[in-house]
Each structure stands twice: as structure tokens, then as C-alpha cells.
Amino acid sequence: MAIKSASPTPSIFKKKSYPAMNTAASYLSAVSEADARARAHGGTPNSTPALSLSSSVTTSSEDTVLHEIFTTVHTEFGHCGNEDYRYTSHYNPAHPVKGVTEQDPPYYILLTTYISYILVIIFGHIRDFFGKRFKHSSYRHLLAHDGYAALNSDFDSFYTRRLKLRIDDCFSHPVTGVPGRTIVLLDRYSPNYNKTFLPTGTRTRAMNLSSYNYLGFAQGKGACTEAVVESVNRYGVSACGSRLEGGTLDLHMQAESLVARFIGMEDALISSMGFATNSTIIPALVSKGCLVISDELNHASIRFGVRLSGANVRVFKHNDMQALESLLREVISQGQPKTHRPWKKILLIVEGLYSMEGTLVALPQIIELKKKYKFYLFIDEAHSIGALGPHGRGVCDYYGINPRSVDILMGTFTKSFGAAGGYISGNKVLVDRLRVYGHTGPYAEAMSPPILTQIIASMASIMGITLPEKSSSSRSLIRNTEGPIPGVEYEQYPGKAPVSALPPWMLTPSTMVDGSEGLTRLRRLAFNTRYLNRGLRKLGFITYGHDDSPIVPLLLFNPGKMAVFSRLMRTRATPIVIVVVAYPATPLVTSRVRFCLSASHTKEDIDTLLAACDEIGDLLDLKQAAGERWPLHEIITRAVELVNMEEVP
């Protein structure tokens, strides 16, 4: 929004807070005219120019405005002009998603893994034993003193103190700036074996494979940021209260209706924190006498919410449809424990994309089971919304399944939209009930205006925007409250967002209007995802998850390798930051590295990453997978071919 000239100073807005509705519309037509002009000149290709070229694109003066909007900062969102480095994320029915394909490492790896855990635990206990007796002061908080019981028991904190502390330099590293393609680390050192860290005062810019930034909307520049800045000017930073007690702004209404349209549901509600979306709204869905069936790897927020709800819980093996079916048969035939009364309702809670495994939910099978067993289906799309599917609408879009065949779709805005908070969507009756009976509505703060604006702007740029003059046909996709009529409505989903759904003051550059910016992001992410997944496997690494998952877990097994891997990556000539996870987030033996891909990475970034992994993998003896291997240079040169293969042999 370099078109600042159109917007008066904030103080004027205060008095006359609403400019005419047609501002955005007239601006849009100006934009499309300018765009057409640019195309006629042949200056800019159909793709987003600034994504492909360097940031200094300027042409004739009247078009400068537009190009400045396209401009991205290379460190935030890498420039990539090669149209071959694109792919569309979609489901191929010829290769159904398998439940879990876990590869076991050779026995010596497992053995050494157990041995290293045992060693570390023994050493820990020895140190605790002597420490408690001879170094009283540093154990004070673990021992009863002055009549107070220890604040945390030494047993509960053993893992933290004796195992995690050893590799604490890999966690909670302070950073600054935009968490985009690169991230700036604030260097630190520890004078006392990771007990405390002191800043060195220097900074390191590193390639970022740790942030959840799937579509690259973490930006300090660009259309979304300009919209956010404008919203801060107009709205300030707070809604000052809970939704039901006067904290509802027009922006909340606009965002909720846009989110519903984006997802393809009748209605949606927004909560100011992703974790709280589950933890405070699940209790409004189920209660005593209901059963929740939960995947064993479901997120902590789901477990928190289910515990608060008072419903019974049964867990089934991760993504195992047979286990799920036999569990369903058991619970329906047995009814409630003791009384054997039939369950009031059964709610199946699964995630779309599992953040530790990279596995996708086997949605087609679940929908089949749902028809037979009549349970309600809740999908947590925290990681999949925006990141999967040809239109970025999550797992339903990926599988080509009508979203309305799912009862509740929940997701967050943190990961793909560069914002914060979460949503729950479903039919209107359900969502209205959750507005009133969820804990969020009456008690929790409403979402801040700048966050709402980021959501609106990023979603609109993925959807594309219908201009008023040609909106007559596609506008009918607007919330249809007549109830789900699958055939009819599905044709209209996934549609564009009508310009009337956006705040009238929000300026929308042409790449946002035609949806090309969003599409480029989706396709770049899909390419990077497949390339890294398959590249790592061709190098011989054991990875988990689906080829289309933007989270790529690479298995390390030995706990000691976590720290070494992380440090080696961080101290390379091109530093790379990654996330290492281990027990208790994963099973004890399967410590892993997790790469989070983004549309902001370029193909060259993935090349660099693969080269780094190749080198470190040899050093740490990580290449344990069976199957055909390619040398690094072959992977890099045949990347496009690799990505477009139906299936990697």
C-alpha cells in the first residue's frame, strides 16, 4: 500500500471513521487498469514479477506504485522466477495415503540409543545423589525446606534437569526480526553448562527451517503488512474485552464470514489463541455421557480441552483405520462404562497434518467409517489449513472432499497466515451455540484488530477477490444458510472472496485480486515440500510423513546426535536453524529433526539444505534407509523430475 496518498492522517479517521464504500472498488478498478496497461507493455509476465526478479523493479512512473507492492525482501521471501519450481498439492487416488510407514533403523542404532539414555540417566542420578548432599544451595528448590514442600519434585523434573539441560542451547534461542526465509539469531553463550545464557551482543542471520510460515506470510513488507499498518492506524491494537461483553468489532464479523467462506463452511468463530480454541471450545461440544475418540498423537490443546469437558476418552493407534474401526465397534456395542447406556454422542478428533510425524489423516476412509458408525468428526487443521490442497483449503481440499461432510473444522492462523489465534467452523446452529457456550465468548479477550486484518488480507490473497462488476455469478457462494446441498454448493467452493467481504479501507493490489500471489505461494510451498521429502529419501535418510507434508521429520534416533546436528547446522558457512524434538514429544527412541518448509524458500535454499544434510548425515551415520539412492548433484539437477514423479520408487 504505497498508495498512501489516498489515506488521510489518522486523526481525520477518528472523526470520520468510514470513507465511502466505493473507495476500495474504485481503487480496484484503477489497479486492474494499471495492471492491464503493464501487461500490454509486455513489461511484466503473468507471474508476480517481484517474486521472481530482484527487489528493484521499476518501470514507468504511474506503474511504480504497483511494483512496489509486489516487492518482497529477499531475506524474508526468497525470489524465485523459475516457473518449473512449482507444484500443485493434490491427492492422487492411485496412491492412497498409507497409515504409517515407519522404517526401523539397524539394530545397532537402536541399541546405542538405549545405551545412551541409560548412561545419561545413571549419570544424572549419581549427580543428584551427591549434589543433594554436598551442593545444597543448587538443589534448594527440589528439597523440602522451612516447612515448605519442594516446588517441583526432583523426579518430575529429572528429565528436564539431566537430559534436556545438556542440549538446552538448541531450544528457546532468542531471535529478532521477521521469522521468514531467514531469521536473525541473537547469539548467546553459556558460562555454566546451559544453566543460564548470556547474550554475546552479536547477531547471526540464518536460513530458517524452524518457523511455521508455510505460505511465507511472515513479512515486514507487502500488501498484508500494509493492511495491518493501516488497521493499527484506524483501530489501535485492542478490542478491549470479550466477544460477548462489548469486544465485538466490525472486523470480527468480516473476518469470521471470510474464514467461513475460505473453509467452505456455513459459519465460523474466531478465538484469540490457537491453543485456547481447542482447550476452551471442546468442552462446549461434549460433556459427561459423551465419548471422544482421539488419535494417540493429538496435540496437547485437544487433550486439555477433552479433560475439561468431562467426556470419556478412548485413544486409537496413530492413523490406524483398522484400530479405529474395531474401537468404534467396541464402544458402540458396549455403551457407557458400568451403566452400558448408549453414548449420547461420539466425537472423533483427529488432526489434518500431524506436526511431529508429517503424516496426513486418512480422510477418505474416515468419511466412509463416519457414514457407517454415525460419529461426529472434528478435524484440527492447525498445520494443514493453507498448507495443503490445490486451493490451500486444507485436507478436504487436498482430498477433494466436500468440507461440509466434516462436522467441525478447526484450525489456527499462526502457521499459514502469519497471524495468531484460531477458528472453529461448522454449521450455523453449531457455531452460534459455541459462541454462547464456549469459554472464549464470555471470558477471553477478543482478537486484536491487527491480527484480524492480517487474517483477512492473507486469506483474501489466497482466495483472490471478485470485483463488483463481474461478481454477480460467483457471489452466490456467500454463506448459504439453506443447509448443505452438496452438489450445488460444492461447485461454488472454493471460490473467490467478494470485495464486499473485505474492509472498505483495505487496499488490494492486482496480484491479490487475481489470486496469483496466493497461488504462487501455494505452488512454491508444494514444490519445496516434495523436493525436500524426496531429496532426503534419495540421500538415504529415514524420514517420516507424507511427501506433500511441509513438515519433514528426519530421524536421528540417538539423543546425542540431536545437539550435534543442531549445532553443526547452525555453525555452517550458511547457518541453518532447525528444530530438534525428542521424548516426551516423540517416542523415546525416535529423536528427530523437524524441517518446516515455507513458500519463501527458493529451490537453491533446499539445495543448500540438502547439501548440509548430506554432509552431516555422513558424519553422524544417519543414512540408514533402504532403497535406491542418488548422489547429491543428481538430486539437485533432477529436482523437477523428482518432484513430478508419481511415486518415488
Binding site: K14, G220, N233, Y235, F275, E445
Partner: protein, 460 residues
């Protein structure tokens, strides 16, 4: 075996689940529809969807920082430098320098060793309590604690003992009886906590902090104090109860507050010693498993603290406004105010001329038993206040709507009836702000008074 399978199939076919969500009742729908939608920025005088500009006494803006130009500027700078989202949990490169700065600012402001920030105020305390309090530990809690605390207690699975709402005598009795019980059982030494609020969300009453600290030291309990309402609203510069009573904040083991209410940013915090804070960095569920707060909002909170530090006049203006409103409303027959005179959150209960008709059950039995302490095992007090929820809520809603017509935006305190542990008396909750002038406040109070009188007298 085959017959068995068939049987299961039949059971599956026969089973008919309840609908996922029952539709709202017409009254609930009407309530939902009656919620005002603000067009444009919120603040002391926002514009509603109806086109009307109203005086806002509904939302939290005690310090009047909503729409503050300095904060806006700093937030915009931050957005340009950091983008909007933090894109990751604090453990995985989501901790930015501005978060560290804010934690430092809060700790310095309150005078504690350290602090930790959570991304949502409501989820803060319900995560702090279970981080420390485990099965087998003892919690002594006020009967009137807010919903978020109730959820934290529920998750913690501790042994809970209740004391009468804001009654220090009752607290001491409960502490004594718990002590006795423990000695009798000769159980191991367990962690013991007192959980209460600074200014209570339910009614605006204020805890007697010096007494609380005295008791906790005497009986060797740790104190978890929820200052979600009082932080940024009482004390000379808004530091909360510790400033008001001149109690060092280090005496409170876990001091929990809201950055959304007091500083009009978002999120919550827990301040305390290094050990208390660091423990939560691994064990605070809502901290570990949630993305960090957006950096720009962390900056907004930091700037808010700066402004409070340097402008004590904000809090004195707020207190003037509280006094002005109380001066008008304290004397109205049909209003009862359970709130502390210094609390900028003022709850108004409707007082009906003859409440006796609401008590069909004869009261002598109650009268005879009063004086005896309540059972600490039960959340319900021995002599619960008797009121007609439905009637009072309807009257209060009428008052809210009447005041809105006169240009004052109020709100009933919305509660999840049936889910709160105790039935909370329906009230209208005023949140005063330093952003309004004394005159505006007096005018608004007069409108509220007139609305109460009109609605209550119409009922007769």
C-alpha cells in the same frame, strides 16, 4: 463368532446419537443478537453498527490506553520490522527480543525476579495452576474465584478446600482445619497453595493482601494471586494490589495478571522468582504448546508499562471517575454494589423492593445454622445468597438496552450458567476508564440510575 459380529452390526445400526449441537433457545438467540457491534476503533466513545456514538462503560480500558498514538506508532514500527505473527512456539525460535524485553519490563514494574508471558489472558492462570499443583497437593481457594481459575483447579486434580468469599477469618479456619487433618493423617509434606484473586472478576470485591500474606507465611502456603482485573487498574501507578497495600510483590509466589485488560494489548503473565518462571517454560501447557504472542503486541504492552510508569495521573483520573460514579450509584435504592470502593470494575446487582417473595422456603433453618462455618470440602457456602437468576438477568438486560438507547453502552457480566462452580449473582459490570472525563462519567451514571429506576419500577 459370526453371530457376535452380526450383533455388533445391529447395535451399530440401532444406535442413534444426539444431535451435535442443540439450537439456541429464542432467549439465547436474542441475547446473541443484542450484542453491540462496534464499527471502527473501540475506545471511550465508540460508534456502533446502529450509527450511534455511545459512552463505553462495558469494555476493559481502565488506563485509557486503547488508541494511544505512541503505542500505535511503536506497534507500526514493530510490524514493519518483525511482521505480524511470531510463527512458532517460544521453545522453537518463537522467542523474540521484544518478548524478553516485555518479560523484563513486567518484572521490573512489579519488582519480582522474573516473569513469563502467555498469549492469552484467559489461558494463563488455567495453565499456571496445573504447572505447579499436582495430584495430592492441597489448594485452598476462595469460593468466588473466576472461571479461568476454576478450570485450572479442575485440570490440576489437587485436593481442594474452599473458604468463604473474601473472608479472611474463614480462610484461617480452613487453613487450621487442613493443618489438623494433615497432622492426623501423618501424610508426607505436600505442596500447599492459596489461590485467590486481587479484585474479583465476579463481583469487584478486593482481597486483603497483607492479611493473605500474613496467613500464607504463618501456615507455610504458597500464594497464587490472580490480578487479571487489578493489574493496571489499582495502585498509584497501576501496579495492582501489591502497590495499593505496599506489599512487596516478591511476597506473592505466583502473581498472575492480564496484559489485555490493564494494558489493552493481549495476553497474560505470571511474575515470580526465577525458579517459578523457569519451571513454567517447560511445564506451562499454554506456554509450551502455543505460538508466542505477536511481537507487535508485546511491544504495545511494554509501551503501556512505560506510559503507566511516567504518568501517575492516569490512575488518579481513573480513581476520580470511580468516585464520581459511585457517588451517584451508591445511593440508589434498587442497586446493590458488591464491589470495593476503589475498584474500577463495578458490579451492579439489581435490588428488588421485597426480596422475601423469592424465598418460598422458610428461612429460619438458614438463620439458625448461620454463624457456623461452611464445609471446606464443598464449593457451596453454608448460607448461599438467594436470588432469581432468570428474573434478574432479564431485568438487567432490559436495563442494558434502556441505557444503550440513552447512549451508554453497558454489558451484563456474561457467565456460563451451569458451568460455573457456584451460581454467580447476575450483575451489570461497569469498567470505568481514565479516558472519560469526570463529567462524562457523572452523566453516564445518571443514565444508569434512571435506567435502573425505570426498569425496576415498571416491573411492579
Amino acid at each position: 463368532m459370526k453371530g457376535h459380529l452380526q450383533e455388533i452390526d445391529e447395535l451399530v445400526d440401532e444406535w442413534v446419537p444426539e444431535p451435535l449441537a442443540a439450537p439456541l433457545t429464542p432467549r439465547e438467540q436474542a441475547d446473541l443478537a443484542a450484542i453491540p457491534v462496534i464499527i471502527g476503533p473501540t475506545g471511550p466513545k465508540p460508534k456502533l453498527a446502529s450509527g450511534k456514538t455511545v459512552v463505553n462503560l462495558a469494555t476493559y480500558n481502565f488506563t485509557g490506553l486503547a488508541g494511544n498514538e505512541t503505542i500505535k506508532e511503536r506497534v507500526i514500527d514493530t510490524v514493519r520490522k518483525y511482521g505480524l505473527g511470531s510463527c512458532g512456539p517460544p521453545g522453537f525460535y518463537g522467542t523474540q527480543d521484544v518478548h524478553i524485553q516485555l518479560e523484563q519490563d513486567i518484572a521490573d514494574f512489579l519488582g519480582t525476579e522474573a516473569s513469563i508471558i502467555y498469549a492469552q489472558a484467559f489461558s494463563t492462570i488455567s495453565s499456571v495452576i496445573p504447572a505447579f499443583c499436582k495430584r495430592g497437593d492441597i489448594i485452598v481457594a476462595d469460593r468466588g474465584v473466576n472461571f479461568a481459575i476454576q478450570k485450572g483447579l479442575q485440570i490440576s486434580r489437587c485436593t481442594i478446600r474452599w473458604f468463604d468469599h473474601n473472608d479472611m477469618k474463614s480462610l484461617e479456619q480452613v487453613l487450621q482445619s487442613t493443618e489438623k487433618e494433615w497432622r492426623k493423617k501423618k501424610g508426607p509434606l505436600t505442596r500447599r497453595f492459596i489461590v485467590t484473586e486481587g479484585v474479583f472478576d465476579h463481583d469487584g470485591a478486593m482481597s486483603d493482601l497483607p492479611k493473605l500474606v500474613e496467613l500464607k507465611l504463618k501456615y507455610k502456603y504458597r500464594l497464587i494471586l490472580d490480578e487479571s482485573v487489578s493489574f493496571g487498574s489499582v495502585g498509584r501507578t497501576g501496579r495492582g494490589l501489591t502497590e495499593l497495600y505496599n506489599v512487596p510483590a516478591s511476597q506473592v509466589d505466583m502473581l498472575v495478571g492480564s496484559l489485555a485488560n490493564g494494558l489493552t494489548a493481549c495476553g497474560g503473565f505470571c511474575a515470580g522468582s526465577h525458579i517459578v518462571v523457569n519451571h513454567q517454560r517447560i511445564n506451562g501447557t499454554a506456554f509450551v504448546f502455543s505460538a508466542a504472542m505477536p511481537p507487535s503486541l508485546a511491544v504495545a504492552a511494554s509501551e503501556g508499562i512505560n506510559i503507566l510508569r511516567s504518568t501517575p495521573s492516569i490512575l488518579s483520573t481513573l480513581q476520580d471517575n470511580v468516585r464520581a460514579v459511585r457517588a451517584v450509584l451508591d445511593k440508589v435504592d434498587c442497586i446493590t454494589i458488591p464491589s470495593h470502593p476503589a475498584s474500577p470494575m463495578i458490579h451492579l446487582n439489581v435490588r428488588l423492593p421485597s426480596p422475601t417473595h423469592l424465598l418460598p422456603v422458610a428461612s429460619p433453618s438458614l438463620a439458625s445454622s448461620s454463624g457456623k462455618p461452611s464445609n471446606p470440602l464443598s464449593v457451596h457456602p453454608r448460607d448461599p445468597e438467594v436470588f432469581d437468576v432468570e428474573l434478574e438477568e432479564r431485568l438487567l438486560q432490559d436495563i442494558v438496552e434502556e441505557a444503550l438507547v440513552q447512549g451508554v453502552m453497558l454489558t451484563r457480566s456474561k457467565r456460563l450458567r451451569g458451568q460455573e462452580l457456584t451460581e454467580v449473582r447476575p450483575s451489570i459490570r461497569l469498567n470505568l476508564t481514565a479516558a472519560l472525563t469526570r463529567k462524562d462519567c457523572e452523566k453516564a451514571a445518571a443514565v444508569i440510575k434512571a435506567a435502573f429506576i425505570k426498569v425496576v419500577s415498571k416491573r411492579k
